[in-house]
């Protein structure tokens, strides 16, 4: 059973794919889970890692990241999205990520998810690039 994140001020880091940044503007798809994600957005917990370390691990595991942005647990909650710890163990050639967490969008339709992603994008951009 996953543990809910309750520290409202905790920041959660989100890796932004290069195709979702244009002239410093982030595309909202960066904050919307894909069907493969089972309606859950991957993030890393600031209480357990740094933006730099988070990005480094993501890239080491084969992901592409143009930058790291952050949202608080409270900001996700304002969109009625719950956040849960979801540590990932090492497997195949991938390193473990004990700081991994998810924001759960599954209670919302795809349409609703898109506008939630837009609001979260605005908040993340207002906070600024973390790494």
């Amino acid at each position: 059973m996953k543990t809910s994140l309750t520290e409202m001020a905790e920041l959660l880091f989100r890796q932004i794919h290069p195709n979702f940044i244009q002239n410093g503007q982030i595309g909202s798809p960066a904050f919307c889970p894909t069907p493969k994600d089972d309606n859950k957005l991957s993030v890393d917990r600031s209480s357990m890692t740094t933006p730099q370390a988070s990005r480094q691990l993501f890239v080491s595991n084969g992901g592409k990241s143009q930058g790291v942005y952050a949202l608080s647990v409270e900001e996700f909650q304002q969109e009625n999205l719950t956040c849960q710890a979801d540590p990932i163990e090492a497997e195949d050639n991938k390193l473990a990520n004990p700081a991994h967490a998810i924001a759960d969008y599954s209670a919302h339709s795809q349409k609703e998810q898109k506008n939630k992603a837009k609001r979260l994008k605005l908040k993340a951009m207002a906070r600024g690039l973390q790494a």
């Binding site: 595309g27 909202s28 506008n115 837009k118």
Partner: protein, 172 residues
């Protein structure tokens, strides 16, 4: 909307600049509901503002980059971007260059194209699906209001009427 301009006038005024984007200054007639009725006169045909033209070219170049994205472009996910969605997005940009300076263009995981921009307190998206369908949605930047348009089958009058209502009316 069809704009009729004398062929000789275009040739005389734009010789050597063929293939460039142009803008029109028109006198139009509206009906009593303020819907477009007809073009009364064409005052000017000018080369489009260079800044606009540059941004439009940048947007076209970015769309061309989307053609080259292979399946799996999004960290192993992400379908190949549909040529139909790219063509529709390019047509949209040409027909509505008003916000060209702020347009952000992004591929979508499902093989479509998303155009995002901000105007008058709203963050608006136009999504061109791989299937050819088009949808407009948006959120109020400093509020909780939001909207979702119906899905449109093409870039027809219904789509542009909705887009203009959502984007341009709010500029007034």
């Amino acid at each position: 909307m069809r704009v009729t301009v004398d062929r000789d006038r275009v040739r005389n005024e734009f010789d050597g600049n063929t293939g460039r984007a142009v803008q029109f200054s028109l006198l139009i007639e509206l009906d009593r509901h303020e819907n477009f009725r007809s073009i009364v006169d064409v005052y000017e045909v000018d080369l489009i503002d260079q800044e606009f033209a540059n941004r439009l070219e940048e947007s076209k170049s970015r769309l061309a980059d989307f053609h080259r994205l292979a399946g799996g472009w999004y960290n192993g996910d992400g379908e190949k971007i549909s040529p139909r969605a790219i063509r529709a997005a390019e047509t949209f940009l040409i027909r509505r260059p008003t916000f060209a300076e702020t347009y952000g263009l992004f591929p979508t995981e499902g093989g479509g194209v998303l155009v995002e921009f901000q105007t008058n307190g709203w963050d608006i998206s136009v999504e061109f699906y791989a299937s050819g369908e088009i949808e407009i949605f948006g959120v109020e930047i400093d509020g909780r209001a939001e909207f979702f348009s119906p899905k449109y089958q093409d870039l027809g009058d219904d789509f542009f009427a909705e887009f203009d209502r959502r984007a341009e009316v709010r500029r007034l």
